[in-house]
Symmetry: C2
DNA sequence: CGCCTGGTTGACCACTATCAAGGTTAGTGG
DNA sequence: CCACTAACCTTGATAGTGGTCAACCAGGCG
């Protein structure tokens, strides 16, 4: 078990009152579990018997190619549901990035609950539709955006997440490594570093330490993110 | 209205008995609509008041960036549901690629139907989960696969589609243009052409005409698709 | 105190995009 | 019937974005 700066981040950022995250799906039928950084909740290919609801901390979902190339499909934060799939087995691996609290819900029990409880049905349906929407936006990012646009999109999204967690959206804490970010954005960690360095030099962001980014010009980042400034726009 | 080879393709390929495609969602509550190639079913940003079920033909879903860069998120075939979203407006545009028959279902009516009919609920949930799964695989493709791997993945998927439609999976018909394919795979149409040309020269595929591909070595394509042969593997 | 993980930066290069030209086919109008 | 046009497709030459390889730094932990 590691107690590094990730531990700190987890406490200073993303404060979620347990009652909020525990409302809705899994409130009464799940079992609380905790995990340490780098723990794997489940592997791609494991029988998909459980659904997890994140209470506190961050989870990283990813797929691998045989030669080790990795694509992170999502970072999950408090309130997110993990493992909702129609397949027999999980289609991705789920790793804890921080100390993590989840509610683990038996798949079979969730199905029963959904059958009888329209509110749970609605929650689950909305969660999946929301995930699908975000994933489609990620397709646009991976298929058509430049490196700067990808990083700007990521920072904008993290800013929104920070606001949802009660922050002002100007200070963002990154529980994940540069490699995690790169594997999420379809880049290499070197490119992520270079783009962050460029944004810092341009005064768009401040980087007091590698896991803490100040968004000095959020409007500029959002323009970059939407491709508003032309391809390869450097300033 | 155009009557080009697309028209032909639509009749020779993907033969679906109407009763099959009309089973399940929308069977009783929808209204049959027809569209011609290049018709737009709806634009990104339109109020998401209808869900469409494809009965016959192919639909192309895509998002655009302000400068015109396009990402195709999905090609829809007989049986697919289009427009299931939790958002107020459609998050993508839907264009007909061929002559098209759909069942149009009022969103409000589908919601009512789902409330009272567990079978419809199950169909819709499974449809969305299936779409999410495919989309996540597409993330891996766009984020981490090479041009050859992308094209091979696409051809493999089209082969599976052809088998679902009753073919042997060795002959694939492509109702979409090279630009559509490129915008789906995150490439340019020139790169798609070059990769297809290379596969043809290597004897992996035959291309009797631009919209008809013979998959001569499906096993090789599938190995390429999964990245089994190393990056940049040319033979 | 030294190792190991993660981060940063530089030099170089390759994959794929861009730019350009020419070919093919279907539909159109003389 | 046959040029003419407009998409669409294909291939070549060149260039650029981001990848690869490498070196070095910083911090945490054994």
């Amino acid at each position: 078990m590691r107690h590094t700066n990730r531990e700190t981040l987890e406490h200073t950022g993303a404060v979620v009152h347990p009652l909020n995250a525990e409302q809705g799906v899994g409130m009464a039928i799940g079992k609380v579990s905790t995990h340490s950084p780098k723990d794997t909740l489940f592997w791609e290919g494991d029988p998909a018997d459980d659904v997890f609801k994140v209470i506190r901390g961050t989870v990283c979902l990813y797929q691998l190619l045989p030669d080790g190339r990795r694509q992170v499909s999502r970072f999950c934060h408090a309130g997110d549901l993990i493992g909702l799939t129609a397949t027999e087995t999980y289609p991705y691996t789920a790793d804890a990035l921080t100390n993590l609290t989840t509610v683990r819900i038996r798949r079979s029990q969730l199905d029963t609950e959904m059958e009888g409880n329209p509110a749970v049905r609605g929650d689950v349906l909305r969660a999946i539709q929301d995930e699908l929407n975000r994933t489609q936006n990620q397709l646009l990012l991976l298929g058509r955006k430049t490196a700067v646009e990808r990083v700007a999109s990521f920072l904008s999204a993290m800013s929104e997440q920070a606001m949802r967690d009660g922050g002002d959206g100007r200070a963002v804490e990154l529980p994940m490594t540069r490699v995690d970010i790169a594997d999420y954005l379809g880049l290499t960690h070197e490119t992520v570093c270079r783009v962050l360095g460029q944004l810092k030099r341009d005064g768009v962001v401040g980087i007091p330490d590698p896991h803490r980014i100040e968004l000095r010009q959020l409007d500029v980042l959002e323009d970059f993110a939407e491709g508003e400034c032309g391809i390869g726009c450097a300033a």
